[in-house]
């Protein structure tokens, strides 16, 4: 895209966006609030299968999402949203402005249509529809901010051939392990994403992000069985983190080639390992940081999302074991061992880092568990008001055209002081579960079965035999209350594909934790 640059739209919106939003609200009497989200994305990727090239991709695109709140004569408020992928027309200011105005108009009419119907229903039902009378949105002063992306190698300057090559080399190396590797797929991606948020109160926030990600899927088989393994490395950095690896303290990763080979080696070893035949009783379980990343994600992170807790996701992704009602909930109550603390922190250098959410609220650390007590939810402006707390900047959309949902950032169990080796050495008989695979969670996340990539026996403090197809099954509270050791080896893991919403939004984030020890039942194959 030499002559028309989508990223120039940022400058146009910086200059003209405020006036565009104010004019819209002034000229639409029923409009109570309007927001615009814009993003320009430059994406390059390469993929290979079984040591052979499969595809390359180079995309530059743009999208808008607008939200309008409109008030009916009856006082009922309706909420409309329009999202559209607008692509290269974003590079032409006149056409971009026209697209934004059209989207605002459409969202406004939609909000009014909903407000009319809502008003009619409230009038018909009277007190029986009292809950519809008003959702307050927490106040926030207008924000103006600029945040730059962090990278050594600019994703826009990377030749797609480099991504094709690095994926191909990694796939070849994995395939080269032998015939036991029945199939492998390796993908490499680097992306620059520049977002703008504007609202009718005068906010303008420009944030840029660099994402680079490597993915590997392996099927290995032996005479004994088969193993499917999938994993991801990712950083909010440039291509350098795939090419040479990344040595950050919290979330280090190997280079893509080594990462793929190690995953394939592990899959090969697992395919020859026996399926776990689980004991018919609760056992001591030591879990590693990679496994605990998924526990933090499913059992702490998701149920800490206030939209879920306030029943707004009841038809899709379920409710929260932390909140039965505004009057009956776990806030301030013990839900886990005093050794257990957990938080979400978007300021950390993880895959879920950001400075401002997609409602323009600054993101900040939210403590979920403090010494076993549940202490707080991730929220949006509306859910913060419902809970009577300050907004903490957790409403985020996966793409510019989507509505923001409440999302995790870098969500993890906090480290303790015990070396992981000692946590294992203290176990007379138990199991060491390593690497997360697949989760299955009860509706309010009060119970889970999460499979591990590897399960080892522990006998007399030593790691023993390796098994595949093992999983941890427990009621959430029981698992947390039984935690009796927390390691000092905190790691964050890049999670590339957290799904939520209708339609499904797939979001990147980090989850993690240190090595932990608890009690649970195990599942097998």
């Amino acid at each position: 895209m030499a002559d028309r640059d989508l990223f120039d739209a940022i400058d146009f919106l910086r200059r003209e966006g405020d006036a565009l939003m104010r004019r819209f609200v002034r000229s639409h009497r029923a409009a109570a609030w309007a927001e615009l989200r814009f993003e320009a994305v430059s994406h390059r990727s390469g993929a290979a299968i079984n040591g052979e090239p499969r595809e390359g991709n180079e995309t530059e695109t743009a999208a808008i999402g607008v939200t309008v709140h409109a008030e009916d004569r009856s006082g009922a408020i309706g909420h409309g949203h329009t999202g559209a992928e607008i692509g290269r027309l974003a590079a032409e200011p006149t056409r971009l402005a026209r697209a934004v105005r059209a989207a605002l108009e459409e969202a406004y009419e939609r909000a009014r249509a909903s407000a009319r119907e809502k008003g009619a229903l409230m009038s018909r039902l009277g007190a029986r529809a009292a809950a519809l009378a008003g959702v307050v949105v927490a106040e926030r002063a207008p924000v103006r901010a600029e945040v730059a992306a962090v990278y050594q190698r600019d994703p826009r300057a990377i030749d797609v051939d480099e991504l094709k090559r690095i994926a191909l080399d990694a796939s070849r190396a994995a395939a080269g392990l032998g015939d036991e590797i029945a199939y492998n797929w390796v993908g490499a991606t680097t992306e620059l994403r520049h977002e703008v948020f504007l609202d009718s109160a005068g906010s303008f926030i420009s944030q840029a992000f660099a994402f680079s990600q490597g993915d590997c899927y392996v099927v290995a088989q032996s005479g004994e069985g088969h193993q499917e393994s999938y994993d991801t490395i990712g950083q909010q950095r440039g291509f350098e983190c795939l090419e040479t690896g990344w040595r950050g303290e919290l979330m280090p990763n190997a280079d893509l080639g080594r990462f793929a080979v190690e995953l394939a080696q592990e899959a090969r070893e697992l395919a020859a390992a026996p399926v776990l035949k689980p004991p018919d009783r609760e056992v001591v379980v030591v879990s590693d940081p990679h496994f605990n990343a998924l526990v933090a994600h499913e059992i702490v992170g998701h149920p800490s999302e206030a939209d879920r807790a306030l029943k707004m996701e009841a038809a899709y992704a379920g409710r929260s074991w932390f909140l039965r009602s505004l009057a009956d909930n776990q806030l301030g109550r013990q839900v886990g061992s005093t050794l257990l603390s957990a938080c979400s922190d978007p300021s950390l250098d993880g895959y879920g880092h950001y400075r401002y959410d997609h409602e323009g609220t600054p993101g900040r650390r939210v403590m979920h568990l403090e010494r076993g007590n549940f202490t707080g939810f991730l929220n949006s402006r509306a859910t913060a008001a419902a809970l009577g707390v300050e907004p903490n900047g957790s409403a985020r959309a996966s793409e510019g055209w989507h509505v923001p949902l409440i999302r995790m950032s870098n969500t993890f169990f906090m480290p303790g002081e015990t070396p992981p080796e000692r946590i294992i050495a203290e176990v007379e008989r138990g199991y060491y579960v390593c690497g997360h695979a697949i989760p299955s969670i009860a509706e309010s996340r009060e119970n889970f079965r999460i499979s591990a990539r590897r399960v080892y026996e522990i006998e007399n403090g030593r790691i023993g035999r390796l098994y595949r197809s093992g999983s941890v099954i427990s009621d959430s509270r029981s698992f947390f209350m039984n935690v009796d050791a927390v390691g000092n080896d905190l790691r964050l893991i890049a999670i590339p594909n957290c799904g939520k919403g209708q339609p499904m939004q797939v979001k990147r984030m980090s989850n993690g934790g240190p090595t932990m020890r608890s009690r649970a039942r195990l599942g097998g194959g």
Partner: protein
């Protein structure tokens, strides 16, 4: 949305331009315009709420160009462009497609059909023209129906009843046009359907009920909006005070939603040529073999008369066709796109992956769709293999009462959740929790309701489909969250399913 004529005109003009590019041996232009309109429902009696959380639309217009180079018939690349159907945009995409090329030794070229397809019929579905006002009216009618039904029950007099209503009313519309060096014509298609699911909870009673609807017309959507809120609330109220079965092995009836969910997450992904090539199918080495009870059949039919999804051509321009997947319990067909069909046919390990009966099989690329997150066709997606209207039937199926009798003592499971292949797709092991619409079966009849979320199922697909005690005579519609397919499934009764207690939330 753009008109079919506009995207067809672009594809035609684009094909003219690309056919003059001397370095190209072949090309394909896939243009699409798609809209997903959603009214998301969120009503909570005890917490201030919006009722309709938002009315929203997501528009995805654009095209994808794929090319194959003259210098090597296996050198291929592609690029997509959003929002604009101009020759300038096409040239820009062409430049990126050239930079993106790889030499893929297995690339079979683009689909080739020398004969023109019959012209498509005009876009008849009135959902293609449904207004926002109509969608808003339907969404609020669902809420009104729910509140009316709830208001008639004594539970409504409680100070904090904890009535929760969630779900959505959604319309999915798409139009596509495909021009290719392999076709003599520009091929077009259009689709529109709605889906709606409603979940009602009465938390003071620990009760949950659901309702859902799928269809292809405004009249069906209006009709559904009248009944769904009411039905979900009535089902919830009927399930209050539910029991929590002890852990153990049970005889169960799996209703339409659980069967659809297990098919979606555990079976359909294994019934593709891509899964067999990747050695990740649960039916690895068993093509042609019996993989289900001989009474059971599974079909994907994009032209099913009662199906919500109608597709005339695939997103590769080939005729969309009915695919028999399982006939009389035997695995006889696979969903496929053009690439994966050829890849499996040329796979050196094909005999091992398909099994002895698959040796001479060829697979039609009748299911190559490029789908977005809402299930509509999407310009920048790669052709995958997906179903449309998935129909699961049983020969000799019986009425619901006979299924209960076949179980005798057990559990009717009406809704499951978070069903995942816990040990990978190929292993066939799955786990999920029972979330609502479920009842104990005693003396062959429905007895007391189950509390929502009280048990976890851990099983293997073989336990479900290999030897059912009985199966239903009617295939009923079912929606699976996040799935592009519409399911029409018969319930089945199964023995020896392990249920494990889930502790209630405090």
């Amino acid at each position: 949305m753009r008109s079919v004529a506009e995207i067809r005109g672009f594809a035609l003009e684009g094909a003219r331009v690309l056919s003059q590019e001397k370095d190209l041996a072949g090309f394909e232009i896939f243009a699409s315009t798609a809209e997903h309109r959603i009214a998301r429902l969120s009503y909570t009696s005890d917490i201030p709420c919006r009722g309709v959380e938002e009315m929203k639309s997501l528009h995805a217009d654009g095209f994808q160009v794929r090319i194959v180079m003259c210098r090597d018939g296996h050198e291929t690349g592609g690029a997509a462009e959003a929002g604009e159907f101009t020759l300038s945009a096409l040239r820009d995409a062409l430049g990126r497609a050239r930079r993106a090329t790889v030499v893929d030794p297995h690339f079979p070229g683009f689909p080739h059909q020398p004969r023109k397809l019959a012209a498509p019929p005009p876009e008849l579905r009135d959902l293609a023209r449904a207004s926002d006002a109509m969608l808003a009216a339907c969404a609020w009618r669902v809420i009104g129906g729910a509140l009316d039904a709830y208001g008639r029950d004594a539970a409504a007099q409680r100070e904090h009843p904890g009535l929760v209503l969630g779900g959505d009313v959604s319309i999915i519309r798409d139009r596509i046009a495909i021009a290719s060096s392999g076709f003599p014509d520009v091929r077009t298609d259009a689709g529109a359907h709605f889906s709606s699911s409603v979940t009602a909870l009465v938390e003071s009673l620990d009760a949950k009920g659901t309702a859902g609807a799928l269809g292809g017309s405004v009249a069906e959507m209006r009709e559904a909006s009248v009944s769904m809120g009411r039905d979900a609330v009535r089902r919830a109220l009927a399930s209050g005070g539910g029991v929590r079965p002890r852990s153990g092995s049970y005889r169960v009836v799996l209703g339409p939603q659980p069967v659809a969910e297990i098919l979606n997450y555990m079976v359909m992904g294994s019934l593709t040529t891509g899964a067999f090539h990747a050695a990740s199918s649960a039916y690895h080495g068993r093509f042609g073999a019996r993989v289900m009870d001989e009474r059971l059949s599974l079909v994907d039919d994009p032209a099913a008369r009662t199906g919500a999804v109608h597709r005339r051509i695939t997103c590769e321009g080939l005729p969309a066709a009915k695919v028999e997947l399982v006939r009389d319990g035997r695995l006889v067909g696979l969903l496929s796109n053009h690439y994966d069909a050829h890849r499996l046919e040329s796979d050196d390990h094909r005999a091992e992956k398909l099994g002895p009966s698959g040796a001479g099989m060829t697979f039609a690329a009748a299911s190559g769709y490029r789908l977005g997150e809402g299930g509509g066709r999407r310009f920048d997606a790669h052709p995958g293999a997906a179903g449309t209207n998935v129909i699961f039937r049983a020969r000799g199926g019986v009425a619901p009462a006979a299924m209960m009798r076949a179980v005798g003592e057990g559990v009717y499971i009406g809704r499951i959740w978070y069903t995942y292949p816990i040990n990978g797709q190929r292993a066939g092991d799955f786990t999920c929790t029972v979330t609502g619409d479920s009842w104990m079966i005693r003396n062959g009849e429905l007895a007391e309701p189950l509390a929502p979320n009280c048990v976890r199922i851990s099983a293997n697909i073989a336990q479900v489909f290999d030897a059912p005690l009985a199966a239903g005579s009617r295939a009923m519609p079912a929606i699976v969250w996040g799935s592009p397919e519409a399911y029409y499934v018969a319930p089945i009764a199964v023995a020896d399913i392990a249920l494990a207690e889930v502790a209630p939330t405090a």
